[in-house]
């Protein structure tokens, strides 16, 4: 048992020091009837590294890695190229195997990168303050709505139909159990839904995503003004962080809170998790913000340093009055994000965004030439929606058999909504090659 340093001799000596005969005596407070006499039946015994590696590799081999085939999946998770430096750095034991930085004197590494992360996220989103991350974009969205309810002392949230359905669902779950109203319209593949007329004095916040789940890019300026007029907050959701390298950020369009998914930078797809929630707000709202915050200060010798701050908002101090019950965030995912963004820098990040958009434009042009395929978007960043002459689910499954991951069929995103069966959401990133695009066009031509 390679992970256990104690030898039998050690155990004997320690038991003697404690003054008991066996470890069972240490479990004497456990009701005898419930105590197990030996290992739990039905589970295997310990195994060496080689055997375990074989078992896990066999499971992995049953999957088709997105990078091994032409891949056009988006819908809230995007496959980008992550520089080798990122993974090498985050595997340093000092980052990987440290705890939440409760002892700041020996956690300055974590605290400084989180401070840098907060600064970068504030810049990207165009907001004044960002926290040290949330679980993922969907939970960030739900927490943003809860926060808006606290700030406005209202309890009705208005969600755009084209906010990612998982974000809407996550918010609806909290709404059901914490007692607020999450009023979400039906998805609108045309991207023309307007919420302005539905905002009144009972609305705590309006949640809108840009680019939205069908890829449409939205100007939030008018919506922001409408929110302000009624005393509601505007929450902007971003699921593709790379879009912030090219598009006017939500902060510059009047958003009060930005809830975003940061997986695109530094983090692999991971079959959906762990991902990285980004959360940014206006400065005046900072004390209502959930999540951890790192702040700058000085030490006893007057040197600059960092600490967790404003922690009175948190559950370990406020208990039943905390702004959120969250403890952990996505520390290591935030580290991967910030390293990738630091590598890119202003020039690299801007170019990455341009590259993504250009690839998507190229792809849209090629696909638009296929007979019977119609592009629904007037605007998009790196993802758009096609109307196919056949059911998208079937098309995608057929293409998967030919080794092409063609995109996300809309019914996969909205299993409870009718009328979307022929819609396919397609994404391109810097990883998408000409050959990939041609393979998709050829494949579609064959199965349609």
């Amino acid at each position: 048992m390679r992970y256990l340093p104690l030898t039998e001799a050690d155990r004997g000596a320690m038991l003697a020091e404690i003054g008991v005969a066996s470890v069972d005596d240490l479990y004497k407070d456990v009701p005898a009837a419930a105590r197990l006499a030996g290992p739990i039946a039905g589970l295997p015994g310990h195994r060496g590294e080689l055997e375990v590696e074989r078992a896990l590799s066999a499971m992995a081999a049953k999957n088709v890695a997105a990078g091994s085939v032409p891949n056009f999946l988006g819908g809230g998770a995007y496959r980008h190229h992550v520089p080798a430096t990122v993974d090498s750095m985050i595997q340093r034991g000092e980052f990987l195997t440290s705890y939440t930085p409760y002892q700041p004197e020996i956690s300055q590494g974590t605290l400084q990168y989180l401070f840098e992360f907060q600064s970068q996220v504030a810049l990207l989103t165009g907001m004044e303050v960002a926290n040290a991350s949330m679980y993922d974009g969907a939970t960030a969205c739900a927490e943003a709505v809860m926060m808006a309810n606290r700030v406005t002392k209202r309890s009705r949230a208005l969600l755009a139909g084209n906010v990612h359905p998982h974000y809407r669902d996550t918010t609806a779950t909290l709404a059901r159990f914490t007692g607020f109203e999450a009023d979400a319209g039906p998805p609108d593949p045309s991207g023309r839904e307007s919420l302005v007329d539905r905002i009144d004095e009972t609305v705590s916040c309006v949640v809108v995503q840009t680019p939205d789940v069908f890829g449409h890019v939205h100007d939030l300026t008018a919506l922001s003004a409408a929110c302000k007029a009624k005393g509601a907050l505007l929450i902007a959701v971003v699921t593709e962080a790379v879009s912030l390298g090219l598009l006017t950020p939500p902060g510059a369009m009047g958003a009060d809170i930005v809830a975003a998914e940061g997986q695109s930078l530094g983090n692999p797809l991971n079959f959906g998790g762990p991902h990285l929630g980004l959360f940014a707000v206006r400065e005046k709202l900072v004390r209502q913000m959930p999540g951890r915050l790192v702040g700058q200060t000085t030490d006893a010798d007057g040197r600059r340093g960092w600490v967790l701050t404003l922690s009175t908002r948190e559950q370990h101090i406020r208990r039943e009055k905390a702004t959120s019950n969250i403890c952990t965030n996505s520390g290591l995912c935030a580290l991967a994000f910030t390293i990738h963004l630091t590598l890119l820098g202003e020039a690299g990040f801007t170019r990455l965004a341009q590259l993504n958009h250009a690839k998507a434009v190229q792809l849209a042009e090629k696909l638009g030439d296929i007979h019977g395929v119609r592009l629904l978007n007037d605007s998009f960043f790196n993802e758009f929606t096609l109307r196919l002459p056949r059911r998208a689910n079937k098309v995608v499954n057929k293409l998967a058999k030919r080794g092409i991951l063609a995109g996300v069929p809309a019914p996969r995103l909205f299993p409870d909504t009718d009328g979307l069966s022929d819609l396919l959401v397609v994404a391109a990133t810097e990883c998408t090659s000409e050959a990939d695009m041609d393979a998709l066009c050829r494949g579609l031509g064959e199965v349609l």
Binding site: R287, S311, T312, I317, R318, K321
Partner: protein, 125 residues
């Protein structure tokens, strides 16, 4: 002449012409340590005796400040937003929290006067 009364939760209230000025005591500020933030009630808010009226935060703790008596909030000490340290340095003076138009002066009768509060503190020690 004003009179000052104290609660068991270590708030004080000084009454002048039907208006009560409320803050926390020397004992409370010392127990809390360095105050970093004070959350004050909205102007015009009606508070009830013993009800939540404000929150005072130190680095490691957040504590409710309860209304010593019921009434309507008529003024708040906005300067605490910039200088919460006043609660530490001058809790009975410039570190006041808010003013109340007292709804029912009889509620004052249940509070401690200065001597009774001192005795109360000695018993806590």
């Amino acid at each position: 002449m004003s009179r000052i009364k104290f609660t068991k939760d270590h708030e004080w209230i000084r009454v002048e012409d039907g208006i009560g000025v409320v803050g926390i005591t020397e004992y409370a500020q010392h127990a809390l340590g360095d105050i970093v933030f004070v959350e004050l009630p909205d102007l015009g808010k009606d508070v009830t005796q013993g009800g939540n009226a404000a929150v005072v935060e130190s680095v490691k703790a957040a504590s409710e400040v309860y209304a010593p008596v019921g009434g309507e909030v008529t003024a708040i000490n906005a300067e605490l937003a910039e200088e919460p340290a006043r609660v530490n340095t001058d809790p009975l003076g410039t570190g006041w929290f808010f003013k109340l138009r007292i709804a029912n002066p009889a509620e004052l009768d249940g509070l401690m006067d200065s001597d009774a509060y001192q005795t109360y503190l000695e018993r806590l020690a």
